[in-house]
Amino acid sequence: MILRALILASAFAAASASAQGYQPYPYPPAPAPAYPQPGYPQPAPGYPGVQAPVLAIPVLEQDLKLKAGSNTVRFGRDSYVLTPQSQATLTAHAQWLIMHPYVNASIEGHADVRQTRDYALALGERRAAAVRNYLIASGVPPQQLQIVSWGRERPTSDAVHDATWLQNSRVVTVLKQPPQQLQPWMQPQSWPQPQPGNP
């Protein structure tokens, strides 16, 4: 009896809904799934297709420096060997990157200004590759990392004295916003314009 009343009631509700007439607009798309990771760019409310990162890259970089002690590892002249100190820093980088899988890292290698220009580019790349290989071995997914060499084009220290030039032999972990992948809710939509006179 109760079941019968329920069925009747739902049928009545459906009938009244359809009797009420048409929907003027299609339903808005389903909301984006909730992402568990902080720092993942969420769709901004009201603006489908526009991403607003919850945490900006500079904030995340501060966090990385705080947890790992530094975003830089240093090398001797001509060397691409990771010292124990560098390995400790990079292990912390790896843990941080594993905790933040939705942030990419650009591993930027540099050489000191007393290398010739071509060799400096090659040496920066070799150092960056050494760091990337260490991070991958520590569990960071390879697609989260890219490497680039600046050669000797971006010295960190303005002075070029014998005592300071070696400071430029370094690899810096630079965080990057991942390239936007087009999500279903980001697909461009054409909304029908409300016609004047229609309710």
């Binding site: 060799y119 090659a122 590759a129 084009e153 070029v160």
Partner: protein
């Protein structure tokens, strides 16, 4: 007057100018350069052809005054002649001008808007033609035709290539050291016709001009990844050389300009490749796990000299263009890098790190016979003059880090400054078209 201007403004011209005052003595050939006639005075983009004829004669005189072996006179105070006489001089009429040789020629407007420039060199004593050149050029390009005529005359007299049509590409650096602004600049060998080819929005390095001076390969950080780009010498037609996303750098043209040798870095390993200058699929020449970079072709195009740290430190190696027969040629101590083969094929210029300074050196193309030419704090990036007599390089000042261009004679001596509007780096000196 023009000559005095050019020496005071451009130190490049100064180095060979010294002896022009002792004109008649010292085995110089006195060369008469009357103004070039024109069959019909026509207005063109570059001015009236009659005026161009005067300017070409002036330019030839100006070019040849910078040499030790030719003393040019004119175009003032010399008799005029007709275009017909240019190809068949009336020797008796030129007998009393006190010159040993005579330049004639003419300028003629073409139907397509360009001009014909024809020039001859005659030996007045033996009454014979020594050489001739003819060009169809845009009317605004008359100066290059004049440079090439002067170069041909210099070659006919001395059997050496003239520098007059050669050009120099370099990187002009402004801004701070940590945020530098780098632009590729081009100028004539004597510092005239200076212009910028890139505008400094991205960092660019190591421009290399093709031997004919028509194209420039360089490395750019555009898009965040260092890669080789190639453009025409006027900055147009700029494009990526390779279709690859790998990091590529250190480009260098082959002597015929058809092939570019370069370095590509993949997973921490840098090797040398060659590719067609129009792009295409690169061919790998070295396979060692060390860094192989800075390739430079021999003038016959059959060998490549390059640097490699496969032995532990950077040293200089030679291989055939197919990658076979790699052998080390630098055994003079220190770390040796950025080798460049001289246009006459005899020598290789390089830079040497001796533990505290970097200097420019030269060695025989087969190795040995090494000589260090400079003793700055950091002298690097050598580039040869077309006549293989000079090496231009970049000097970095200790402390300030400011770069400047200098050139040093292979005979040694104090380097001469090459005047540039801004601090300069990475010079590349073109060849000359014979």
């Amino acid at each position: 007057m023009r000559f005095i201007n050019s020496t005071s403004l451009f130190a490049v011209a100064a180095f060979v100018a010294g002896t022009s005052a002792q004109a008649q003595s010292g085995g110089q050939i006195v060369l008469a350069v009357p103004q070039f006639p024109t069959p019909r005075n026509v207005k063109t983009d570059g001015g009236e052809t009659g005026v161009i004829g005067i300017q070409i004669a002036q330019q030839i005189v100006s070019d040849l005054r910078t040499t030790r072996s030719i003393y040019p006179t004119g175009p003032e105070n010399l008799r005029h002649y007709t275009p017909t006489e240019a190809g068949a001089p009336l020797y008796p009429n030129w007998a009393n001008i006190g010159a040993g040789a005579l330049v004639t020629g003419y300028v003629q407007a073409r139907d397509d808007g360009r001009i014909n420039v024809v020039c001859y060199l005659y030996d007045l004593k033996q009454r014979r033609e020594m050489t001739r050149k003819g060009f169809a050029v845009a009317a605004t390009e008359w100066k290059r035709a004049a440079h090439r005529c002067a170069g041909a005359f210099y070659t006919a007299v001395t059997k050496r290539p003239g520098l007059f049509d050669s050009r120099i590409v370099y990187v002009a650096a402004t801004g701070s050291r940590m945020q530098p602004v780098k632009r590729i600049a081009i100028m004539n060998w004597d510092g005239t016709d200076h212009s910028y080819l890139t505008q400094g929005e991205v960092t660019v390095t190591s421009p290399r001009i093709s031997p004919d001076g028509e194209r420039i390969a360089y490395m750019s950080f555009a898009g965040g990844m260092p890669h080789i780009r190639i453009m025409d010498a006027d900055g147009s037609n700029d494009r990526q050389l390779l279709q690859s996303n790998s990091m590529s750098f250190a480009p260098r043209f082959s002597p015929d300009g058809r092939v570019i040798a370069f370095s590509m870095a993949v997973d921490g390993n840098t090797d040398i490749y060659v590719v067609d200058a129009n792009g295409g699929y690169p061919r790998r020449l070295t396979t060692t796990p060390g860094i192989d970079t800075s390739p430079s072709f021999s003038p016959d195009g059959k060998q490549i000299v390059f640097e490699s740290d496969r032995s532990g430190a950077q040293q200089i190696y030679v291989m055939n263009v197919d990658g076979s027969g790699q052998s080390r040629i630098s055994f003079g101590g220190g770390a040796n890098s950025s080798p460049v083969w001289s246009p006459d094929g005899d020598r290789i210029a390089f830079s040497r790190w001796n533990g505290s300074t970097i200097g420019i050196g030269i060695m025989s193309a087969t190795g040995g016979d090494e000589k260090i030419l400079t003793n700055g704090w950091q002298d690097e990036a050598p580039s040869w003059s077309p006549d293989s007599e000079w090496v231009m390089f970049q000097r970095t000042q200790q402390g300030t880090g400011t770069g400047s261009l200098l050139m040093v004679s292979i005979g040694g001596g104090e380097p001469k400054a090459v005047a540039t509007p801004q601090p300069g780096a990475d010079p590349s000196w073109s060849g000359v078209v014979q």
